[in-house]
């Protein structure tokens, strides 16, 4: 036996900054909320319409802001056009750079088609600048058939599958970071993304004052399902590891056994995840509890989804590959750190507020021909002022 001590080793910084966490977080919320909007919006299920409206707002806002975070993580953001000048079909990141704008376009188109009837209705009201803007956004006096909306929705859903696959495998193929190098990472990104998306819809349901009981019930049901799936994936990953199939688990166990910070993180993640699953399961059963505590659970779900990405993308980069121990990483205050994190959330909030200001998203419709009030909804009609004028 011998004792080895490092005397001279270089220090290696991290290569992907918190911008990457923000991108992976927002894009996961984006594709997950799209699927939450699908039953109401694309399939036209009336019971899911309120959920679909909130989810569509969440989807559009996160889809618009996510690429900004992605761009910011490039050290040469103005060279983004190189992605399109030099297409590289063997690189996951290059494939993503082509998928992402298509996906963004499909989501925006879908939202626009869903919002158009309400926008047209608002443009006919006498509401000053808001009516004018609504008229501009609605762009013309035509009506798209329901089939077009369903088709665009199907296209967006198909592209979202591409986003799920590329964001997952982009990270999972990196053999240089054993913790990432597992086939269970892509499904884990999706499962925790759905958890976060349910959380976001629950929170928006509360702060938008829609407070739909249906939405609370549906989101908690999906949340419980996503928690079960997440737990199952985590367990399978772990079992793979102790059966020596995956170096990812060995690396994780190494980190946890060697570092107090990793033990703390593992503990926090475990507790937050289990707490979320238990609370979701308990609250799901009572309408009163769902109404009172749904948004709190939503915040916890968002925390779990964000922290998972932080641990996977940031903490894993601090695990040294060629030297002992862990690299020091402290979140900087500037745009590579805290300012970037807060800035992206601020940008998202701005996007939500602007949409809320100029778009009557609460009246989004699954059928562009039916008009905004074709589906009477008790919880909605109270909040729509001036609606009777269109009777």
């Amino acid at each position: 036996m011998s004792l080895v001590t490092e005397v001279v080793v270089p220090r290696y910084g991290i290569a992907w900054y918190p911008w990457a966490v923000q991108y992976f977080f927002l894009i996961a919320l984006s594709y997950s909320t799209l699927w939450l909007a699908a039953p109401g919006l694309v399939l036209g299920k009336p019971a899911w319409m309120t959920t679909a409206r909130i989810a569509l707002l969440a989807c559009v806002s996160t889809t618009l802001v996510a690429p900004v975070a992605l761009l910011a993580d490039l050290h040469q953001p103005l060279r983004f056009w190189h992605f399109y000048a030099h297409p590289t079909p063997w690189s996951w990141m290059s494939l993503g750079s082509f998928l992402l704008p298509l996906y963004l376009g499909a989501v925006v188109l879908l939202a626009w088609l869903a919002w158009r009837p309400a926008l047209k209705a608002r443009s006919r009201q006498d509401d000053g600048v808001f009516s004018r803007v609504a008229g501009w956004i609605a762009w013309g006096d035509w009506q798209a058939p329901r089939a077009v909306l369903a088709l665009v929705g199907a296209g967006a859903l198909a592209l979202s599958l591409g986003i799920m696959v590329y964001t997952g495998f982009e990270v999972a193929i990196v053999k240089g970071r054993p913790l990432w190098n597992t086939h269970w990472l892509p499904p884990m990104f999706v499962a925790t993304g759905v958890i976060g998306a349910c959380g976001l819809v629950l929170v928006l349901n509360r702060i938008s004052t829609l407070r739909s009981a249906d939405t609370n019930r549906q989101m908690l049901a999906v949340l419980v399902g996503a928690c079960v799936v997440t737990g199952f994936i985590a367990l399978t990953w772990f079992l793979d590891g102790i059966n020596a199939v995956s170096g990812s688990v060995a690396a994780a166990l190494d980190s946890v056994s060697q570092s107090a910070a990793w033990r703390g993180t593992a503990m926090e993640g475990g507790i937050a995840g289990v707490l979320l699953a238990v609370l979701a399961f308990v609250m799901r059963r009572s309408a009163a509890r769902r109404k009172a505590m749904g948004w709190v659970l939503g915040l916890l779900a968002l925390h779990v989804a964000w922290m998972f990405r932080w641990v996977v993308l940031m903490n894993v980069q601090t695990v040294a590959r060629n030297s002992a121990g862990f690299h020091d990483y402290h979140v900087a205050f500037g745009s590579y750190g805290l300012l970037g994190i807060i800035g992206i959330f601020g940008l998202w909030l701005t996007a939500v507020l602007l949409i809320d200001l100029f778009v009557p998203w609460r009246e989004a419709s699954s059928d562009p021909l039916a008009g905004p009030l074709a589906e009477p909804d008790a919880s909605l009609s109270a909040s729509i002022e001036g609606a009777p004028r269109h009777g």
Partner: protein, 258 residues
């Protein structure tokens, strides 16, 4: 690390040192994350490096000359010599182990297929380079390299790495690290030329040569002679370096902590 795993890694290291001499370029195909075709460089050559650890005294002359030749920012290194203190626990004897690190110019480089804009590529002579005019600085390659051979150069804001001093090789010179090595520990050359020094040394020491992290299947083309198997992977070592912070919390240097 347990002895069985260690000896397995050692065998792997030896095995791939031999296998890596077979050109893999024919394996290139169009699947996602497969190696793209190589471009530029002399197709009749395959550069590689052999580092005779028995000759390395850890003077860091290579580190310094590389830093000057290639103008790397402070704190980033295209090559560096890791140094370890190894204490035999029974006898208390202490020895120092030197491990020069640089880009391995792998036969199956994981950094190349990940690049989204083909800014990093492998030349036909095996040298892996970065086109800093094309690089978008996504740092995907930095994460993909298991050897920490790449970094983002803060001056150019693009990926930076060892190029075997390709600019010097083309001018008929040796790389800065080879030229400055006082012990002659670093030998670079064309492995396709059977008469080259590196070819002769590889032939002579084939069974003793090892590469870093052979289990990653990157087929490194920097071969170590006199290597200890325990150092081919992340060493099971005590971290000995601590940052020294000034009164205002700013870093002023390093201190050896033991």
């Amino acid at each position: 690390m347990d002895p069985i795993r260690r000896s397995l890694l050692g065998q792997l290291a030896r095995l791939s040192a031999g296998a890596a001499l077979i050109p893999l370029s024919s394996v290139a195909s169009a699947g996602i994350n497969d190696q793209p075709p190589r471009r530029e460089g002399d197709p009749d050559k395959r550069y590689g490096m052999l580092i005779d650890l028995r000759q390395c005294i850890g003077c860091q002359a290579c580190t310094v000359s590389c830093h000057i030749e290639n103008d790397a920012p402070l704190g980033n290194f295209r090559t560096v010599v890791s140094q370890f203190e190894v204490e035999e626990q029974h006898s208390g004897d202490v020895a120092t182990f030197m491990l020069p690190r640089l880009c391995n110019h792998c036969e199956n480089p994981p950094c190349v297929p990940v690049c989204p804009v083909q800014a990093t590529y492998q030349r036909q002579d095996g040298i892996v380079v970065v086109d800093s005019d094309r690089c978008v600085g996504c740092a995907y390659c930095v994460n993909a390299c298991p050897y920490d051979a790449r970094f983002i150069n803060e001056k150019t804001q693009t990926a930076d790495k060892c190029t075997f001093c390709a600019h010097r090789l083309e001018a008929g010179l040796l790389p800065a690290c080879v030229e400055s090595c006082v012990g002659g520990a670093r030998i670079i050359g064309d492995m396709r030329d059977p008469a080259s020094e590196i070819s002769r040394l590889i032939d002579k020491h084939r069974d003793e040569l090892m590469v870093l992290q052979p289990e990653k299947n990157t087929l490194p083309q920097v071969f170590y002679l006199g290597m200890d198997e325990r150092f081919t992977t992340r060493p099971q070592a005590e971290a000995g370096i601590w940052d020294v912070l000034g009164m205002e919390g700013k870093e002023v240097g390093y201190e050896f902590g033991h």
